[in-house]
């Protein structure tokens, strides 16, 4: 079916954008992607060549989908087609594609390489559409792309779109900066409170039922514990570095995604001076925020599993998975967190207290026979079931009056949450019952019922636990001295922590009394032991395919028949049978009985595709509310909207703040727009720069050097454009863009040795500070230095600092009183000693590097491109540029036994890592030799232990 027509305000957004080149900022949920699709369609006339840059894969999918719908509707002769260019497309094919024209979405890094290599017919470019414009900075590749396009083709249009107003309010005059970078003079702002939008969206709205549920006691406790951890970590962070502004860095703001970026930005000028502990704390904040989100988003079992995984992976194990334990993990609040996460899942009881029957039942279910499942069901799930039932009743009543009823749409946060909801709804009437002794121990037993889904998840948890314990025991055998000794020690110390620290007293809940608070580690150990018992009981070897809820849940699951309880579908045959059964039982459902569970992350168009009469928002999500509004504004048959939110929860707080932040951002943008200093270079300056390639800066440098009387005589006769051959992988860094901006001829090629070839004898490997530290430790730099010094008479390591960081290596961790092997200073010295011929170039910023390069290029002959490419290549016959897919090759190269010498042969012999993993050892030996083949084969097969 054809996509819905644009709403009047969307039409206006589009018209204004078509009128002039501008940056257009639209509030989330108002259909930016719809506008983008329309814009692209209008611009991409048959003769045009329009580039779409900075699109995510999701955006591309949406657009593809949209155009497909366009073609399938009445306008079947609609010809707009989106072509997508990624690094998989090779250079020749790309060239043909560009010449054919049309609408092309291309990765910026590839586009810039193609522009520089003149694969793109720049003179034919009609225009560039920049999506997600909030992410563009002066250093980003998109800025580079726009500059080149403008230089050679000033008439090309540039239009930029964004639906992230918040991003334009960070830092100093960010809107102005972005406009400058994009070379745009106009900005269009479309907040939700814009008059046109108000008029279009608020016309008539279906009743909304807001269901505010209290969180369970344990959820409240978890929330409090995480908040305590957060505030402790923030307090510690602020006291250990002066770099943070306590006004903005506080617990309240830490609950939002932008917080990470903000902390990193505030710390970045001092980042290299911070101790590892402080840096870890910054990462911990991200982690804790995630845990805070998961309290409402995950079911209790998954949350416990995630927490346990965090604990396990933070333990230092000899030789692997390093990392100091985060300080919050040793805190009292963390212990509460772990204890509560555990008590809402299961509790351990002495074996003799459980009736024989219960124990047998537990064992038959694959659970340890010394636990009582608690398995708290998230309140929202229960309410959701009620709501759906209510809708069902209402629908059947409506059916009596011959009113049409459409499907019910349930929207939830993530695909994972959706699967949880489906699994719960599918097994709604399937329970497992246990007899458990009364908590007060008077001998009586009560029957407790748990949804089968939850019980299955608990079994999955214990299976996982057994595996994970194996890893730990194998990896860190030395540190396990018996259950809980270490744990108790550290906890004992912590118990004596200052009494001033606020400790919440848990109410006289029976659960609290029955279980003395055990430190997280002891709990974790106990669970591992339990899991080990289960694993010992169950001999059958299993791959952990059914950890958690069913993998095979269909995407559009309907309410299951009562008592169906299909249980778990472990293999495909069973699944196929179940599918048949499904068809027999249900056949075609009338739409009024259909319930569709869909994630917000991919919500675009779902309303239009389903035409639901009832919408249930399982979690609050501002953007989707607007989509519902737009859906209604188009006259949709919406009868009822349900809105589920936990009262007084972090979820609610996040929702309210998100709305507030967006409104404030727009208000700020409106003010900034009023006082905007408009850039004058409306494309014309670019054209001038193209006319005189030797740019101001270079001339200045050259002139100064002449005064110093050090230049080669006759140099000023021919102002030739200096040339640098740059490795295509380097285009992620700002340096190539800056080099080009100051008049260098930048030649992108895939080169094996070094990053920048300045002349035939001089190669430079650029390392930013984090790169330097990382590659010194990993040994990569050693190999690179080795290769460079072997192939070039002048090989240089360029240590480049970032623009906003302090120019000093010293303060990384400070100077110790003795020589420390692990300090950067020592490792750099080691490198220098190992390669006496390796030169070191120091630069305070990429801008400075440009000047240094200009200085180094004086009087030198230009590099030969062919030579730069050929250096270090064993196999010159392969067409190399863009041949490999990046991610799979990175994974391949990281495997044991795979080296820079043999990975190409492997990549030719096997399709992907999956096939490589299935290869036999003799086959591998033919390529790698017996030794490496054995290592690689063994690596694939051995169980994680």
């Amino acid at each position: 079916m054809a996509p819905a027509p644009l709403l009047p305000f969307q039409r206006r957004v589009l018209d204004e954008l078509l009128d002039e080149d501008a940056l257009c900022v639209v509030a989330r949920g108002l259909g930016l992607n719809r506008i983008l699709a329309e814009l692209a369609r209008v611009c991409a006339t048959p003769r045009a060549l329009v580039f779409l840059v900075n699109c995510s894969e999701q955006d591309e999918d949406d657009l593809q989908h949209h155009f497909m719908q366009m073609r399938s509707g009445e306008n079947a002769n609609e010809a707009t087609e989106l072509r997508i260019v990624k690094n998989e497309t090779n250079a020749t094919a790309r060239g043909q594609l560009y010449r054919r024209g049309g609408l092309i979405s291309v990765t910026s890094r590839i586009l810039i390489v193609d522009l520089l290599n003149e694969v793109v017919p720049v003179e034919l470019v009609t225009g560039v559409i920049v999506h997600n414009a909030s992410r563009i900075t002066a250093e980003s590749i998109e800025a580079f792309v726009l500059r080149i396009v403008r230089q050679t083709n000033p008439s090309a249009f540039v239009k930029a779109l964004s639906d992230a107003p918040e991003a334009f309010t960070l830092g100093f005059a960010p809107l102005e900066k972005t406009l400058k970078v994009l070379g745009l003079r106009h900005v269009h702002l479309w907040p939700r409170f814009h008059v046109d939008i108000q008029r279009d969206l608020s016309a008539d709205s279906a009743p909304v039922i807001e269901l505010r549920l209290p969180q369970t006691r344990s959820m409240v406790e978890l929330q409090q514990a995480v908040l305590d951890c957060l505030s402790a970590t923030i307090g510690e962070l602020c006291s250990s570095t002066k770099a943070l502004d306590p006004e903005t860095v506080n617990v309240e703001s830490s609950l939002f995604r932008y917080f990470d970026a903000m902390v990193k930005r505030q710390l970045s000028p001092y980042w290299h001076r911070l101790s590892a502990r402080v840096r870890n704390m910054a990462d911990d904040l991200t982690l804790l925020r995630r845990v805070a989100e998961l309290i409402t988003a995950y079911d209790p079992v998954s949350l416990l599993e995630y927490l346990d995984a965090l604990l396990l992976s933070s333990k230092p194990t000899p030789g692997g998975l390093p990392g100091p334990a985060a300080s919050w993990m040793a805190s009292d609040s963390a212990n509460i967190l772990y204890a509560v996460a555990r008590t809402r899942t299961f509790r351990k009881v002495p074996r003799e207290q459980l009736p024989q029957q219960t124990r047998e039942r537990l064992v038959s279910l694959g659970l340890p026979d010394t636990i009582v499942p608690v398995l708290e069901v998230p309140p929202k799930l229960e309410i959701l079931a009620q709501v759906l039932e209510e809708i069902g009743v209402a629908n059947s009543a409506a059916a009596g009056q011959n009113a049409a009823a459409g499907p019910v749409l349930v929207m939830a946060g993530s695909g994972r949450e959706c699967r949880m909801i489906r699994a719960y709804l599918a097994s709604l009437h399937s329970h497992v019952e246990f007899d458990v002794p009364q908590p007060d121990g008077d001998g009586g037993a009560t029957a407790e019922r748990h949804p089968r889904m939850m019980v299955d998840m608990l079994r999955g948890f214990f299976r996982w636990k057994a595996q994970a314990a194996g890893i730990r025991a194998g990896g860190g055998a030395s540190q396990q001295t018996g259950p809980g000794t270490a744990g108790h020690d550290s906890a004992g110390r912590l118990r004596r922590a200052p009494p001033a620290k606020r400790r919440r007293v848990r109410g006289a809940s029976s659960a609290g009394l029955r279980f003395p608070r055990a430190p997280a580690e002891a709990l974790e150990q106990e669970a591992s032991d339990l899991a080990a018992e289960v694993a010992a009981l169950q001999e059958e070897p299993d791959s952990a395919h059914d950890a958690g809820f069913g993998v095979h849940e269909s995407t559009g699951a309907s309410l299951d028949a009562p008592g169906g309880g299909a249980g778990y579908l472990d293999d495909d045959d069973e699944w196929a049978d179940a599918l048949c059964a499904f068809d027999e039982n249900f056949g075609l459902l009338s739409s009024s009985e259909t319930v569709v569970v869909h994630p917000y992350s991919n919500s675009k168009g779902v309303l239009q595709a389903l035409l639901p009469t009832h919408v249930v928002m399982y979690a609050p999500y501002p953007a989707f509310i607007r989509e519902v509004e737009a859906y209604q504004a188009r006259g949709a048959p919406l009868k009822q909207v349900y809105f589920l939110v936990y009262d007084n929860s972090l979820e609610e707080q996040r929702y309210l703040s998100a709305i507030r932040r967006e409104r404030e951002s727009f208000e700020r943008l409106i003010r900034e727009k009023a006082t905007l200093v408009i850039p004058v270079n409306d494309g014309n300056v670019g054209a001038q720069a193209a006319a005189s390639p030797a740019n101001m800066l270079l001339r200045a440098v050259a002139a100064r050097s002449h005064r110093n009387a050090r230049s080669v005589p006759g140099m000023d006769d021919a102002p030739q454009q200096p040339r640098v051959v740059v490795d295509v992988r380097e285009f992620r860094s700002p340096l190539p863009s800056l080099l080009h901006a100051s008049g260098f001829e930048v030649i992108p090629r895939t080169i094996d040795v070094g990053d920048y070839v300045l002349h035939d004898n001089l190669v430079v490997e650029r390392k930013s500070l984090p790169d330097l530290i990382g590659s010194l430790r990993s040994g990569r730099l050693f190999n690179q230095a080795d290769a460079m010094t072997r192939h070039y008479s002048y090989a240089a390591l360029l240590i480049e600092f970032e623009v906003n960081t302090s120019f000093s290596l010293q303060a990384i961790g400070g100077l110790s009183s003795d020589i420390a092997v692990n300090s950067v200073t020592s490792q750099l010295t080691m490198l220098v000693l190992a390669f006496p011929r390796l030169r070191v170039i120091w630069s305070s910023s990429p801008y400075e590097t440009v000047s240094i390069f200009a200085e180094l290029k004086q009087g030198a002959l230009e590099p030969s491109i062919d030579r730069a490419v050929a250096v270090g290549q064993d196999d010159a016959s392969v067409e190399r540029e863009g041949v490999y897919s990046q991610a799979p090759i990175a994974l391949l190269q990281s495997l044991p036994g795979v080296t820079l010498k043999n990975y190409q042969a492997l990549a030719r012999a096997y399709r992907n890592v999956r096939e490589l993993a299935a290869a036999s050892q003799p086959d591998l030996a033919e390529i790698l030799g017996a030794d490496a083949a054995q290592r690689l084969h063994g690596f694939f097969r051995s169980k994680a232990k």
Partner: protein, 204 residues
Amino acid sequence: RSISQLVLVNDLQRGNPLLACIRNVRWSHSRDILPDFEISRSSCVLYLSIRYHRLHPEYITKRIDGLGRSYRMRVLLVFVDTDDSKIPLREINRVALQSDMTLLLAWSLDEAGRYIETLKAFENRSPDPIRERVDDSHMARVSNSLTAVRSVNKTDVLTLASNFGSFATLSEAAVEELALCPGIGELKAQRIFKAFNDPFVPEP
């Protein structure tokens, strides 16, 4: 005590406060060496402060020219003691590169002293700590490989390894299975899946 245990210091450097910062190795003055510091027979150090260089820009080239060719390893140790060091550093970078000097920058005398100490102390040490290590533990290798996939962290490594067992099993996992692991979001699951299943050489 044999000479080879000492760092020899040129008499020109007498009174340089830098000397007070060389504490972890022994040194002594010497009249008959050309460089400022002689670490060993084959390696030497010239010392320069940026402030001095600004006053006497010709000094360092003279010293380098006078150094001769007898040292295999020649370090130019520069003390960055001014705030605005950009322009002098451009030139120093070029001079060092063109005259076969390895440039090291220090932002304090302590740091400069530390470089001299380290050069001496590590003189005969193998560069193993900065070499690629072949780690023996299986988990370390798994960790090394999986973290090659963008955004995968060590918690994810543990979750993946414990949920799937061997690397081969993991390579056969479907996106949905990956996304089921607590902590692995949709996007991350997609990335992992693609790293395992996308062909090395893209098919047209």
